[in-house]
């Protein structure tokens, strides 16, 4: 039974459980709910939850463990000499799984019966039959693969059958046990609330799981990468020249250089503009002007980065090339560090301005009043009193913006180019860490080659850099807040 229908069945059982639990509770006090420990709905909810939760738990664990077990069983059964030259067990297993799912589809479409599958031989031209339903196989089917695929299918279907049985048994058992305990003195509300609280905690822990998932997934593949490629060459190599036939140069320095250069230009655009807008909006602007201008600037923050990327590609890039780079003889590439940096700067304006706005508004009014009372002009007050007081917060905001700039992907993919270069000319195309993650992980990927795995090492580096910047920014901001509260 497909998982979807199992879940529907479980939900149905839970609904019945709710009604029965409620009814039994009421009938145990002859319909007078004031005699019950909890309100009747809690008895129903208790039964429903005890039917659902163990069964769903079994289901989740089973779905997670079964593929792993079957994989080891089947790949253990493939003889070592069945693996062709230049291939690996993993690749053969891929073939097996693909063939198995192809046969599954054939059977679902009624083009083949279960008996026919057991009688299939490799000369029966399975590939052509699968091709008919639009299921392409990479190569002709070899007998070992067919055997393994059959075994795979048998194991999978028995596994599924057991899963259905176990899940339903667990549901019915939970249902029956809880229902039999429904009684007027049962502390149903406390039990249900305990379960709900556990669920709430579990939801909160998903944040931890996500972080752990991010770190582990990148760490393992990075370790794989560093087994094949020396770690010093990665961090200190000044050449980036991936070559899918092997022997690639995978030095991160040119990528980091491009990333830093573009981020620097972006910050040079965003920080002055964002900061001055924030100062004007919080210190000078009339209420009406602020009510209009602030949301409009924040619209810039709501625009997806792909839009900025397209803007860089179609408008800013050609404009810079035609009016600056070519007349000055600095190159003739539409995608350049300048293009990506300028557009990214525009993207960061609202980020800097709204963060700084909050920080400037948080500076106590008494400090401004003191300065103005001594005869300083407004500009002097802002420059010599407000900004120094807000400085730690502003630095924090700039660091957050920098971390945004470093992790930004679509603008650089479309605006910066793909050539890894160590150059000072801002009108030349350069590339960044994020661009290379995208280009190494899209298209044909082979998770055994260093050219693909390098993306995970790049990702980990990116994660560590941005995390570091965020942590520093948070510390700076927090320390500042303690001063005035």
């Amino acid at each position: 039974m497909p998982v979807f229908w199992i879940i529907i069945a479980l939900l149905g059982l839970a609904a019945v459980g709710f009604l029965l639990g409620r009814r039994n509770a009421l009938s145990s006090v002859e319909g007078n709910p004031t005699l019950l420990h909890s309100r009747p709905n809690y008895y129903g909810a208790g039964v429903a939850l005890s039917a659902l939760i163990p069964a769903l738990f079994v289901l989740a664990v089973w779905l997670f463990v079964q593929p792993l077990l079957i994989d080891t069983r089947v790949s253990g059964a493939i003889p070592a000499d069945a693996i062709p030259e230049g291939s690996t067990l993993g690749l053969v297993m891929n073939d097996v799984q693909r063939l198995a799912s192809g046969l599954e589809q054939l059977q679902e479409m009624g083009r083949i019966t279960g008996r026919e599958i057991t009688d299939l031989t490799t000369d029966g031209d399975i590939r052509a039959r699968l091709g008919e339903i639009g299921f392409a196989l990479g190569s002709d089917v070899r007998p070992e693969v067919l055997d393994a695929a059959r075994q795979f299918r048998t194991l999978e279907s028995t596994g599924r059958l057991f899963m259905t049985i176990v899940a339903l048994v667990a549901a019915v058992a939970g249902f029956a046990i809880n229902l039999s305990r429904v009684h007027r003195d049962k502390r149903a509300r406390n039990q249900v609330e305990g379960v709900i609280k556990a669920l709430l905690l579990a939801s909160a822990c998903i944040a931890i799981l996500t972080t752990v998932g991010i770190v582990l997934s990148m760490l393992f593949e990075s370790i794989n990468f560093f087994r094949q490629y020396p770690i010093t060459d990665f961090f200190f190599g000044t050449q980036w020249a991936p070559n899918f036939r092997g022997n690639s140069d995978l030095g991160i320095i040119p990528l980091l250089w491009g990333t830093m250069y573009i981020s620097l230009i972006a910050l040079l655009v965003a920080v002055p503009i964002g900061l001055f807008s924030a100062i004007y909006l919080s210190e000078y602007a009339s209420r009406r002007f602020r009510a209009i201008a602030k949301p409009l600037i924040e619209v810039l923050a709501g625009i997806p980065t792909i839009v900025y990327g397209l803007f860089a590609l179609l408008v800013v890039g050609p404009m810079l090339r035609d009016y600056f780079a070519q007349p000055m003889g600095l190159g003739n590439s539409g995608s350049s560090v300048m293009t990506a940096g300028l557009v990214m700067g525009i993207m960061l304006i609202p980020f800097v301005s709204s963060l700084s706005d909050d920080i400037i508004s948080a500076v106590p009014q008494t400090m401004r009043d003191g300065s103005l009372g001594l005869g300083a002009t407004k500009a002097e007050t802002i420059r010599q009193v407000v900004i120094p007081a807000a400085l730690p917060g502003i630095v924090g905001a700039i660091l957050l913006a920098a971390s945004r700039a470093i992790g930004e992907t679509m603008i650089v993919v479309l605006g910066a180019g793909a050539a890894a270069r160590l150059s000072l000319n801002p009108f030349e195309a350069m590339t960044t860490v994020t661009v290379k993650i995208v280009s190494q992980l899209t298209g044909d990927t082979n998770f055994a080659s260093p050219e693909t795995l390098v993306a995970f090492a790049l990702g980990l580096t990116l994660f560590v850099i941005t995390l570091g910047l965020n942590v520093i920014a948070l510390v700076v901001v927090r320390r500042y807040r303690e001063q005035y509260e």
């Binding site: 979807f4 600037i297 619209v299 397209l310 179609l314 408008v315 525009i346």
Partner: protein, 445 residues
């Protein structure tokens, strides 16, 4: 008598006339103010330029030039067996229909009395999509074989771009895909009323088309893919996010676990989106074995990305409910859980909803992580209805934009901008809904 020295030194300043220093300070004040105003103007003009250029480039994508032709569905070509059996008709592949289109164009030239010297391959003004269009129609109406039928075809993108002003006679001369004579033919057909430019619904509803025929490419699959992903994000991120926020805001004891959760949430909010793509690729596709390019994987990745946003805004909404509400509920004997679920949560509802819509809008525009989980694939078939459709290959709106920017034909740049307009319209609707909800339900305690 001794002169009392001027206490103000040698200066003879007066409060009525500004001295040099005051003038300087006032000028500095004015300058400073001007910088601020200029910064805002730069920001706003960037916004205007961004939107104006996208609109300017994208609006033409919504119209398309079409040519109306009478196609002779000759039985010799379409039904060589002569028995009108749909299966036999289906054996004639798309390529076989190309001759009919050519014939149709030649008939039209003759009928309208068009004479153009040096006209070569007149059928090249009709999109390559035309043969497939005729074939699909014939397969549905096999009884029409033998007669003639009127069709409205796309012209090729070059002709279309000529009418949109992006291809000129001068550029056509250098172009191998179009000749001046063919443009003249298109103009003659337009005069005869057989060719016109109109609104193109297929741009919104049709699936993507290959590199060679930008005129037929549409956003249908991308819109469905995005909608599926938003559905998944809504179904997962909203309950999980709200549950996590309730725990952290109402129940969490101050201990190390709570601290770790808090730190994690604030860090996840700042992790670059592409890192979530790596997570999706490594965990959901390579480890859990979910299919590539499927909305389910995209939805899961975007859920993890949106969770921090939803949690942060939900917590703010819960925090804004005054403690007196909780105290009152507890005072009349409600349990802590009842006070939260019966009183605090409904009052925080509008705030939570607003935060969720904004989170969804963010997820809708996200591109980078989807590139890594294979949503860049070329998909021309609509996914099935959910839940099976969640596992079918699809693309997403922003990824479709990216996809089109990577193609060689310049007509795709126009379509990419058009797709952005569609995306921005969806985003605007979502954000305006959020603002209206906030206005309507905002409560000051």
């Amino acid at each position: 008598m001794v002169d009392i020295p001027d206490s103000r030194g040698t200066s003879t300043s007066s409060i009525l006339t500004a001295d040099k220093r005051t003038k300087k300070r006032n000028a500095a004040e004015k300058r400073f103010r001007f910088y601020g105003l200029a910064a805002i103007c730069i920001g706003l003009s960037a916004l205007v330029m961004l939107l104006a250029s996208i609109l300017y480039q994208g609006i033409p994508a919504f119209t398309q030039t079409k040519v109306t032709l009478e196609v002779p569905l000759s039985a010799d070509v379409l039904d060589p067996e002569g028995n009108r059996d749909p299966e036999d008709i289906a054996k004639v592949i798309t390529f076989g229909y190309a001759g009919l289109i050519e014939e149709a164009v030649e008939n039209a030239i003759e009928e309208y009395g068009i004479e153009i010297e040096g006209l070569d391959d007149p059928a090249a003004i009709v999109s390559k999509q035309a043969s497939a269009q005729v074939r699909n129609w014939v397969l549905k109406n096999p009884e029409a074989v033998g007669g003639t039928q009127q069709f409205s075809f796309y012209t090729t993108s070059r002709i279309d771009q000529y009418y949109k002003g992006k291809v000129t006679m001068a550029s056509a001369e250098l172009d191998s895909q179009i000749s001046i004579e063919q443009i003249q033919l298109a103009e003659a057909l337009e005069e005869a009323g057989a060719l016109e430019r109109g609104f193109n619904w297929d741009f919104i509803f049709a699936p993507d088309a290959s590199d060679q025929r930008p005129e037929a490419a549409g956003l249908g699959v991308a819109i469905i893919g995005s909608a599926y992903m938003m559905l998944i994000v809504l179904c997962l991120a909203l309950p999980i996010g709200v549950a996590a926020s309730i725990y952290l805001e109402e129940f969490a004891p101050t201990n190390r676990l709570t601290d770790i959760i808090e730190v994690n949430i604030s860090n996840l909010a700042a992790v670059p989106s592409i890192v979530f793509g790596i997570l999706g690729l490594a965990i959901f596709i390579n480890f859990a074995g979910l299919p590539q390019s499927a909305p389910i994987v995209g939805g899961l990745v975007l859920t993890l990305m949106t969770l921090p946003t939803i949690i942060i805004s939900t917590r703010a909404a819960l925090k804004s409910v005054p403690p007196s509400i909780r105290d009152a509920a507890l005072g009349v004997g409600a349990s802590k859980m009842q006070s939260v679920f019966h009183h605090v949560l409904p009052l925080a509802g509008p705030g939570i909803l607003t935060g969720t819509i904004i989170g969804l809008a963010q997820a809708l525009g996200e591109t980078a992580p989807l590139l890594l989980i294979g949503m860049v694939a070329f998909v021309t078939e609509y996914p099935d209805a959910p839940p099976d459709g969640f596992f079918d290959p699809a693309t997403a709106l922003p990824v479709q934009v990216f996809n089109w920017t990577q193609r060689a034909d310049p007509a795709f740049a126009e379509r990419a901008s058009g797709a952005i307009i569609v995306l921005l319209v969806f985003l605007a609707i979502m954000n305006i809904t959020a603002i209206l909800l906030r206005r309507r339900f905002e409560r000051r305690w």
